[in-house]
Symmetry: C2
Subunit: 338 residues, 2 copies
């Protein structure tokens, strides 16, 4: 079945295709199309089941009304809810979102940027993987609307919105101290991205503030491309080799989940044998007995702010925008694990 185009409608209604376009775009008044013609066109379009070809519109107008969202891993609940919230938010502005995952791989990230460029997205929301500086800087230089989320690249002149990672970790550490924990291990990922660094910085700062000597042995950096099993073993090893530990701080939710599995296998109990706190909330943390204390990012606020920033750039492409840096506050959710 052939699709019906604006030309077909024009022919059926006995008018020019431009007339159909005016009517269908509500410009009948402005273009002084008579009511008779307007009604006829509307009627014909309706009965013929006409719907416009978005590709053609985009090509002609130069606006695709689409945003590209590049996250680390859409399978992770943090990014999934972020994506969903961003989508809902963008819809308010009449924009669609297409999203994709880098898996923290720069070359995949480069490909994704290319793919999105080819599809003429109007703007980019990116959680940059390491070594994507150049590709993103290029977008900025081409004056493409770009907003970075969750982390940023110091070398790149792009606006960004993220949480106060260091302070949030500090808050979590203060909570641990107040509960009497002193020997606190830190499990993070061996990944060269700023928010992970900030979280470690927060840990170190908190220790020094409390006057505790930094012990590098109880900081575990797990390779990003770990296999499940290996990571679980590494964390278990940390616990076995450092029996003095009374608490573990996990830098992300997937690390926390792996940690639960390690603790489980060692038949240690939370919080009696070891207290647990993790960055990023997760269903499991709410449910897993006795409840895992975590640091919850304000996903909705992040999404709203990022989309707002991006929309601002999209709708005013003529203006040159300054780099805007937004830092939102994460929230400590205290549960039974501490």
């Amino acid at each position: 079945m052939k699709k019906v185009s604006i030309k077909d409608i024009a022919q059926m209604a006995g008018v020019a295709s431009s007339t159909v376009s005016f009517v269908l775009n509500g410009k009948a008044r402005k273009m002084r199309i008579s009511e008779t013609v307007e009604k006829r066109v509307l009627e014909v379009a309706r009965t013929a089941g006409y719907y416009p070809n978005q590709l053609a519109i985009s090509l002609r107008t130069g606006k695709s009304k689409t945003l590209g969202l590049i996250v680390e891993n859409i399978g992770n609940i943090f990014f999934a809810t972020l994506a969903k919230t961003i989508e809902e938010e963008a819809e308010q502005y009449g924009y669609r979102v297409v999203y994709c995952s880098t898996e923290n791989n720069a070359s995949k990230g480069k490909e994704l940027i290319n793919m999105l460029s080819q599809r003429q997205v109007d703007g980019y929301l990116i959680t940059p993987a390491p070594h994507m500086e150049e590709d993103i800087q290029q977008l900025v230089q081409l004056q493409r609307p770009v907003v970075l989320i969750d982390r940023y690249l110091p070398a790149v002149e792009a606006s960004h919105v993220l949480v106060n990672n260091a302070e949030a970790v500090g808050q979590g550490m203060a909570h641990l101290f107040s509960q009497g924990y002193r020997e606190i291990g830190f499990v993070t990922v061996d990944l060269d991205v700023i928010q992970i660094e900030q979280r470690l910085d927060g840990y170190i700062a908190a220790l020094s503030k409390e006057g505790i000597r930094l012990n590098k042995d109880i900081i575990l950096k797990i390779p990003y491309t770990h296999h499940r099993e290996d990571a679980i073993e590494l964390i278990a090893g940390l616990l076995k080799n450092n029996p003095q530990l009374d608490a573990l701080f996990f830098a992300t939710n997937y690390l926390g989940i792996l940690g639960l599995e390690s603790i489980n296998r060692l038949k240690m109990s939370i919080p009696e044998d070891i207290a647990v706190i993790s960055f990023d909330d997760h269903d499991i943390f709410r449910l897993y007995p006795p409840g895992i204390t975590s640091i919850q990012q304000p996903v909705e606020a992040i999404a709203k702010k990022a989309v707002a920033l991006l929309m601002d750039q999209c709708e005013n492409t003529d203006i040159r925008f300054d780099k805007t840096e937004v830092e939102l506050t994460a929230k400590l959710i205290v549960r039974g694990s501490t």
Copy 2:
């Protein structure tokens, strides 16, 4: 910064734009473009940073190389992994996927189909919400490639791939019986979709096979648009009002998770006070002590098969396809909860 088009390249290289197109599409040989010209064009395109406008290509060729994927809720891990696997699978064929959620709302589903149609997707993968029969049948009648996943609509002439829901539940029930459980409650959702019905049918058939009288009081249908709290209360109520229950069968993973919370609040322990089994696996089920027995769908196989069916239709639009019905086997994962 103005984007550079094929015309610009043509001008810079001193040739016609058709020549550029031939070269860039590797048709230089076929169109007998001289090597001199070919090299020059390639060089100019490279240094000018040319990349094609996918919109224009799609418009001209009539193929967008994009598939539309409509799921129930991209936030649910089952659909999220399904989506991701489908995306990876489609990539093998050189297709992109755009996905969106119905929230089981037919009117939202209708809108999504419209949106995807406007964007000229080449094919549709749909987990249909109730009452979407008409809209989907229309796609089929327009000869658009369509494959239904996870469930199907008896009234619609579209291919589909799903799991053997009834048998899988039967298998789970048989396992429960073999462990000595007799009083098995069934928690499902009040939703008029076929796979949910099949799961209930499987439960009823298993009971009758075992010679146990059906007790409607221990079948709980939770309204789909429940609030978390209400659902948890409903399940807790089921347990309180039926102290004879020794096991609960949950029809989906989100129901299972809600159930865990209910059981938690009643301070009942698994599996001593109540055994638990759920359809659809989830991270939580693997981790939550003592491990929740579940029925795992072969997500990867579903994705592969669905994409293969759809690709077949997309690449051979001339042929009229018969309705293909694929049923895959789900797998029982026994854990500590039973």
